[in-house]
Every structure is written in C-alpha cells, then in structure tokens.
C-alpha cells in the first residue's frame, strides 16, 4: 500500500499552468501533486562560444530550488558559493532531454535558456521539470514563430519524464518523497512522444536488483509517460 493510497501504476494529479511568468517568452508552472516547478524559457540572441558561426542554436537549462521548497529548509545555493553537484547533474539532464527533440538548425544562432525552479518539492522534481520545460519551450517557439524568427519547425516530438521505483517490494510509478526516501531502487525515465528512449537512470538504493525488476519499471514508465505526453498535447492545443 502506497502512503498516498495510489495504485502502483497511478500518477499523482498533474497540472500545467501556461504563461505563469510575465516576462518569459514561454513559461509553465507544472504540478505533480505537491511538487511544483516553475519553468521559464528565455530567448537570448547569442550562442555559446564553441557554437559561433555554425548557423545552429542551442538549448540549455538551469535548475534551482527555493530554500523552503523542502520539508527542512535547505541552505540557499547563492550563499554556499556554488551549485550543488545534484543541481548540476539535474540541469544537464534537462538540457539533454530537450535537445533530443529539437532541430537546433531551425533556431538560427540563438540560445534558449530554460530555468526550472522548484517552488515546492515532494519527490520527482527532475521529472516534473523536464515535462514542464517542454511546455515552456513549446510556447517560446510559438512566440518566435509569431515574430517570424524560425527556419522551419524546431519541435520534432514531445518529451516527458517520470520516476519509477521498487517500494516495499513492488514496482510503483511516480514516487513521492516518502516513497523515494525508502525505495529499494529508483529510476528516472525520459521518453519521446513516440516512446523512444532519451535517457534512463536506474539506481539501486539498497543492494542491487534484477533485470526482471528493471523490465517492470520500464513498462510502468512507458505507461506514465504516455499519459504525460497526452496531457502536454491537451495543454498546448
């Protein structure tokens, strides 16, 4: 029995609030239950130095968490002097996931910086970030299209992410914090709208686990991501 009373294959309630941010070219407040992430896409008229003169654009991401997004207050990263290894790992994952479904040629020599800031955390902040960031990016492309700034269609597919894990011996979908902190294994999946693999990160938290378990987790993730992709499509209709 899951602490939230959900069935093994149930997502938490998911919602997308587009245009949450006044200034950003695209933005989305995504909620996976009590996990709330504000995703903004900022268009910048430059590319990283190593990409200059190649006619292609770039998409990158940064991830942060408000100090009291968590149950106990976390020290503000600006006062520790650097981003944690965890923050850097997550933001690199977000960037790779988005780039997997974008045609960077269509952007021209421009960069889109996607910021994912966790206002409230209850497990799954990286998967919510990727899923919400896709919407923010979609709306940024729409903003650019309206200004005739695109060469062709940059968005080739949807991308969304979900976590699965083995909790009390059972494979379950979309771990919340109480489950995450007690799981035997924890895996994050990033798939495209067509169900192709973009990224899999599976970690044993207590000893190791079998290939059969991995197959169960993968099956749950496919189902969950298909639902998230449907919700993305409804959101940007």
């Amino acid at each position: 029995m899951r602490p939230s009373k959900r069935q093994a294959g149930d997502l938490r309630p998911v919602s997308f609030q587009r245009a949450f941010s006044h200034h950003a070219e695209g933005s989305c407040l995504i909620k996976f239950g009590n996990t709330h992430v504000l995703c903004t896409a900022s268009l910048e008229d430059r590319v990283p130095p190593w990409l200059k003169g190649q006619g292609r654009g770039w998409i990158t991401a940064e991830y942060g968490m408000l100090p009291r997004a968590t149950s106990d207050r976390t020290r503000r990263e600006a006062t520790t002097g650097h981003q944690s290894g965890r923050s850097q790992e997550i933001q690199r994952l977000i960037g790779r996931s988005l780039r997997a479904v974008v045609d960077l040629q269509a952007l021209g020599e421009r960069q889109i910086m996607v910021d994912c800031d966790v206002l409230q955390a209850d497990g799954g902040t990286r998967t919510a970030s990727i899923t919400g960031a896709w919407v923010a990016l979609h709306d940024c492309f729409q903003w650019m299209r309206a200004r005739d700034m695109l060469r062709g269609e940059p968005m080739k597919d949807n991308v969304a992410a979900i976590s699965c894990g083995i909790y009390k011996g059972e494979a379950v979908l979309d771990l919340d914090y109480p489950e995450d902190s007690d799981a035997e294994a924890d895996a994050n999946f990033v798939f495209t709208g067509k169900g192709q693999i973009v990224e899999i990160q599976a970690t044993a938290e207590k000893g190791a686990f079998s290939e059969e378990r991995m197959a169960e987790l993968t099956a749950l993730a496919k189902k969950g991501i298909a639902e998230l992709v449907n919700l993305q499509k409804l959101t940007v209709l």
Copy 2:
C-alpha cells in the same frame, strides 16, 4: 501622468495569499501589481553563535530573485558564486525591519529565517518583501502558539514598507519599474503600524533634491503604509 495611469498617491493593486507554501511554518505570496514575492518563515531550533545562552531568539532574512523574474534574464546567483551586494543589502533591511516590531525574548532560543524570493519583478521588490514577510512571520507565530512554544506575544506591531519617488517632477507613491528607472529621486520607507519610523532610505538619482521634496515623499509614504497595514490586518483577521 504615470505610465500606469495611477494617481500620484495610488498604490498598485495589493494582494496577500497566505499558506502558499506547503512546508513552511508561515508563508505568504504578496503581489504589488506585477511584483510577486514569495515569503516563507522557517522556524529553526537554534540561534546564531553570538546569541547562545541568552534566552532570546533571532529573526533574519534572505532575499533572492528567480533568474527570469526580470525583463531580461539575470544570471543565477548560485552560478556567480555569491549573492550580489544588492541582495545582501536588501535582506539585511528586511531582517532589521521585522526585528523592530518583535519581542525576541518571547521566542525563546529559536531563530526564524524569512526567505523572500521574487517570482516576478516590476519595481518595489524590497518593500513588497517586507510587507509580505510580516504576514509570513505572523503565521509562523500562530503556528508556534498552537504548539505552546511562545512566552508571551512576540508581535508588538505591524510593519510595512513602500517606495516613493520624484517622477517627471512630481512626488508619486509605489514606483513601478518604468518609473523607478527614470526617477529623479527614490526613497524607501519602513513604518510601524503606529506610524513610527523603522527605516528611511532616500537617494537622489539625478543630482540632489530639497528638504521640501523629502517632506512630500514622507507624507505619501505615511498614507501608503497606513493602507498596507490595514490590508495586513484584514488578511490575518
């Protein structure tokens, strides 16, 4: 004529949303027009080293801004390696303002950390922060009172803040960003509910200005802060 069509003595629409944050002991999303600040109060069972063993508590604050809270994206402070001088200046002001109306003896040896994070900025983020932080702090005290953690009433008065400035030769209340960036003088006032002075910071932006002008700004501020204090009282009724 102000860009927002407001009269010289008009505040922007102000709203307070209590309990915005799931985890914090007290929290408030305050809006001064398009300036939105999330204020959370986090109770910690410790005091700064220099206060140990004195039986008194402490209240301090931190201030931050999401990268795309601003019209052009601002670099994330966690990646620059430190808080800006501006952030530090503002958070010290917020802390001083709150402590001016609190009886620290009543807290016992505990610290309350107030985080003010700007989700969206349109001028006046420090004054909105102070005004909203008071509500978050009030609710944190309520949380403590319900758990019988207080020795007497710590909150001695309201405290609120507003900016005034000289814009196109006229004294106006509650500058928004377009006014702020073009003002001849800019002043921030922090007053108690009884109308006493907690802090005044007045700055000439173009040359210098007269004492008469300062008196006009002060009068506007008194009026504006009285309105804000009324709204605080309605909010926590």
Copy 3:
C-alpha cells in the same frame, strides 16, 4: 552626557591631509577624531562596458578596512573570499554620493576609482570616507586640468556626510563608536554644498522612532555638513 564630553551638536576634530599617497592622482587622509580613512582617486583610461562609446565618464568607489583598524581584529576580507555585504553597501553609497555632484560628460570616456581604506575606526567610517573622497576627487580633477584632460568643470558642488543618532534619549551629531553601538537610532546624511539631499539612511536600532526625532536629526546634520563643507573649501583653497 556624551562619553567624549562633546555637546550634542559638536563634530569631532576634523582634519584633511592632501597628497598623502605618492602614486595616486588625488589623495586625502581624513580624520574624524580617531576615525582615519585614506582616500585615493585613481584615474583609469577606460569606462565600464555598459558605458562604452557614449562619451561620458564614470566614478566608482571601493571600501575596505585594515584588519586591526578595529578594537578586536577583523578577519581580512581577502582571506574570506569576498567583500562583506556591509563593505559593498558602503562603497555603493560613496560612489553614488560623488556622482551626484559631478558632470560625467566633462570627464570624457574615463573612469575614476576612489578607494577608501580605513586605517583606524571609531565610528563614522562611511561619512568620513565620503567627505574625504570629495577632496581626493577634487585633486584628481586638478591633476587632470593641469594636463588639459577635462572638457569643462566636472565638479559642480561639494558633497559631505555626517551621522546623527539618538543616544540616551538625545539627538547628537557625529556618533563615535561607543555612541554608535548603544544608539536608539542611527542616521547617515549626505548633503551637497548647497544643502540639498543626496542620500538619507535612517535606521531604528531599538524599536522605532517618531517623525519629530527625524526632524531633529536632520537639523543637526545640516549644521554639521555645513561645517564640513567649509573645511573642505579651506582645504582645497
């Protein structure tokens, strides 16, 4: 009764030593009693990036304190890895105060960096810094004039600063350290030679204070700054 036996409206003994520094284009060792600040003005043949190509100059300031300027040794900022929030706040104030009385067009595309380094501290380091920095800047302009580097007169007026406070219930001028650390309120005033307001920073240190008190502090400051401006004029005769 003030610890120093001064009357409420008395400044400490003030002295200016011009050309203290061999290398700087302008320099002044200013003393407000036991507070000694070395101010140097360094002419640089560049402007900040955001000012390039506009034909105007810039004046900025940095503030520091020798480790044993204080009663207890303070940790050297170079070993803490950054300037304190307090140092940054003060140096921004010094820069703003000087720019308020300078015509930046007359400088051409050049920057003057004013360094205020506290050799010995006894309260009022920021007000001494501003008052001495004006002399260093004046002498830097003189150096430039002798080399025909100025387009017209850059110095439009004097600027000087003084602190006032409420000490043992009485409004007093030019707080020294023992008064400053026990004051009920503390205010710094920066006025021009003509008596116009450049900056006011008033802070309640214990509770809050009334508008009448603020008026008393302002009156004392006017008197004190008028005396400082006279001394500046005598110094640069």
Copy 4:
C-alpha cells in the same frame, strides 16, 4: 568497423596493478587500453557528521583528472575554484556503486575515501574507476583484516562497470574516446558479480533510440562485466 579494429563485443586489454601507491591502505592502477586510472583507498578514523553514533561506517569517492590526461590540456580544477559538475556526478556514482556491495556495519565507525585519479584518458574513465576502485577497496579491507579491525566480512560481492554504445548503427562494448565522441547512444552499466543491476545510465546522443537497442546494449554489458569480474577475482586471488 571500430577504429580500434575490435569486434563489437570486445573489451580493450584490461590490467590491474595492485599496491601502486606506497602510502594508501589499498590501491590499484587500472588500465582499460589507454585509459589509466589510479585508485587509492584511504582509511579514516571518522564518519560523516550525520552518521555519528550509529556504529556503521561509510564509503565515499572523489574523482579527478590530471590536466594533460586528455588530448587537449584541460584546466586544472584547483585553479577553476571548484570541481566540475561532471566530476561530481562521476564521484557520486563511484561511491554508490561501491556501497552497493559492502556491509557498512562490518566497518565500524570508520570512513574509507576512494580517490580515482585519471592519469590518462581515452574514454570509459568512470567505468575503469569503478572496476579498479573495487580492487583498491578489497585490499584496504585486507589491510584492516590483518589488523583485526573488521566485524565480519564487509565485501559481499564484486562490482564492475562498463560502457556500451551505438556506434555507426551497431551496438558495441567498451567505447574508446573516438567512438564515444561519435556514438548515437552511450550507456554505462554497473553490475554486481552475481549479475544484478547497481546502476544503469543510458543517454541518447543523437535523437532517441528504441527499447530493442537498449536490450542489445544490456546484453553486451552483462558479457563485458562478467569478464571484468573474472579478472578482478584473478587479481586478488
């Protein structure tokens, strides 16, 4: 055809040199072809603060690369002021992998710090690090056993790691640098001696890839890790 002429399922030549380091309790220089990593295990008589008083030990890891381990010199991390996100991500992976096969109770309240320093890099530095670190850790335990410092057997199983990828459309084992920089997908696998999963990290480098592909990569990894585990066993015989 692979640049190195290897078959799709071939490892590079692998060697382990135990006791490379004079001072460390356990050490191993591991080579996967031209990738050379020095792994040292340092026993420390303390545990992280959050583990104090629980009677258990801890194993953690740090990862670094000599500046000219790479084809073009990389900037020394000590001069950039922090470890890169990549270094932090890898060292967290090494630590998790080792802990998955160790009984931390058997260590008592002690920490083992495993340093993996890349002397020369040609792809696969993280997988070589994990595989070599197991040997260094094994020898550290042997050192402790000889001094009667262990409560029971801490090493429950072997752990080893290998990368696989899709290179020119074909699934291949143990990518070297030329393959790695041109692969369509890249996956790192960490398995125990019994063939259980400790960690899987699979990333699409160009678009996305299918579940069938993932299955091929997993099969190759199982074969490669079985070979590595055999070599570990021969090494510590």
Copy 5:
C-alpha cells in the same frame, strides 16, 4: 649609477613610527624611502587547532597592499576572491622570520597575528615588513609584560631583512622599484641581530649568476641588516 644616486652599499632613509595604531597591542609604521608599511601585532587568546594543549603560543602574519599603493592601481584582493600567491608567499616568510627569534613557550597558549599592510610601495615591501614587524612584536610583548602575561622573555634576538641585487652589472643594497624591475638578480636576506641566517631567497631574473656574485650580495646584506638592527635598537630604547 643608481637611479636614486645612492652608493652601492647605501640603504634608503629608514624610519620607524611606533604606536601608529590606536587599537593594536603593538604597531609600527616603517618607511624604507617611499615604501611605507603599517605593521600591527594583535594578541589573540587562542592558538591554531594543531597546537592546542601544548602550552606554547604561535606567531603568524598576513600581508596585504592597498590598491593604490602601487604606481598603477592593483585590483583589491577582497574582490578577486582570494589572496594572490605572492601575498601568501610573503606572509609565510614574515611569520617564519619572526618565529625564528621568539621563544614560543614564553607566550603561553596565545597567538599573535602580525598584519603588514603596504600603504605605499616602491620595492622592498617584504623586507620592510619583516623589519617593522619586529618592532610591532616587541611592543606587543611590552604590552603583555606590563600585564604580567609572559613566562620569561620571549624575544631572543632582533631580526631584520633587506634585499640586494645585481643592477647594471653591479651588486647593490636595498633595491627600489626601478632597480628591482630591471635587476639581473634579486635576493632577499633575513638575518638575526647576531648575524645568523634565518632565510635567503636568491633568484636569477635574467639567466643565471655565479657563486662569487652570491658572495658579494651576502656581504652587502650583512652590512645593511646590521644597520637596520641598530636602528631597531635605537627605536625601542
């Protein structure tokens, strides 16, 4: 011919101003010509962690330079985020030199921190620092003796320092900046009052130099340091 018209074996005019600093237990403003260094000795009631419980004291030093001590303004170390390698090298030398003539047992478990801050630089700042620091330390010991804080006499001998170099083919004493920046070799000598060696640092600046040259430099240094020690003795008479 030296730029300053001095003879090869001439020191610059040397002066010591004791008790320059109001707060420090001992202080000295030392001048070697246009090189001016403020040395303060601060008594602290603690020792470094590795010295605790051994009944001995410690003496250490920090070195800094005001930004405009130099001909061109140098960037403030507090804003660069760390002390330069040069500053650290010099302050370690000052600390070692002082400890060579002090009986640390006589201090008890206390630390003296000597700060050497260069107000104005014209070559030889490290040698002036050591020579002036000895006076500051002497006066700190006097302060302690007056309060009966010493166990016996901590100061066993004088210590002073001077630079020599090969300038335009000739060995000269006490290089000023124009000589220093054009010398073929540059050596710093730290000797005790009895003429024993505490430290020698000799560096070829253009190619290498012979042992005979080294002997000439050493002879000059002995003469110069003997003069400085005499001046120290006259100063603290």
Copy 6:
C-alpha cells in the same frame, strides 16, 4: 646516521621515464626514491595577454599533488576552492627555473605549460619536479623541432634542483620526508648545467644558522646537481 642509511652526500636512487604520457608533447615520470612526479609539457598556440605581439613565447608551470600521495590523505585542492599558497609558491619556482635556461624568442608566440603532479611524496617534490620538468620540456622541444616549429635552439643549458639540510647537526644532501620534518635548516638549490645559480631558498627551521653552514650546504648541492645533470644528459641522449 640518516634514517635511510645514506651517506651525507648521497642522492636517493634517481630514475627518469620519458614519454610516460600518451597525449603530452613531452613527458617524464621522475623518481627521487619514493618521491614520484609526473611532468608533462603541453604546447599551446597562444601566449599570456601581456606578451601578445612581441614575437616571444612563454613557459609556465602548475603543481599539484594527488590526495593520497602523502602519508595522511590531503584534501583535494579542487574541493577546497583554490590552490594552496604552497602549491602556488612551488609552481612559480618551477616556471622561473625553466625560463632561466630557455631562449623564449626561439619558441615563437607559443606557450608551454608544464604540469608537475606528485603521484607519491617522500620529501623533495619541488626539486624532483624541476629536474623532471627539464626532461619533459626537452622532449617537447624535440617534438616541435620534428615539425619545424622552432627558430633556433631554445634550450640553452640544463637545469636541475636538489635540497640540502642540516639534520642532527650534519649537512646532508637530498632530504627525504623523515629528515625534512626534523631538519634544523632546509635549503633548495636550482643550478644550471654549468653550475650557475638560478635560485637558492634557504630557511632556518629551528632558530638560525651560520654562514659556514650555508657554505657546506651549497657545496653539497653543487655535487648533487652535477650528478642530476649527468643523469638528464644520459636520459635524453
């Protein structure tokens, strides 16, 4: 009697392993007994900004130590946020020593970065670094000569370094760690192949020492460095 049973004038066994590093233009693993340093020379097609357009090259060095090169593990410099003062002092010495025997004109506008990384430490890491770095640099020049990149011969002479010290009252050559940590005086000598002085750094560790002692140390160093230079010549034959 020395702990290692060596005679006073004996070096430890010395060996040079050229081309240790696959990628570097020149490299050498040098061993002075149990002190092992990997020296790599990296050719870069740029010079420091202050040298641009002058037609000359530059040689610089960086020094590091693996965390477990030492008897007790040392904290990784990348995690402390900066290089230690000691590391910076050593790398500046290595760079100066190499430049003393190189004609920088012959390099053209190119920089060679020499990295000296200590794999294992037992005293004398700086002298081993200099001695090995000369071989790495020699081989880098050979690599350049083969590609016709040099204007004339850049290497004008050999350079090597050794430490000497006063241990238990006797002058001894090439201190190992147990001697170094208990020596009364410690001196590092850098001489050219022709026996000229490049650098001398002599430090009293306990009190001070006489000129006669210094002469003994210098004589030992001459002998030792002559042996090292011979070994360098045999190595690069």
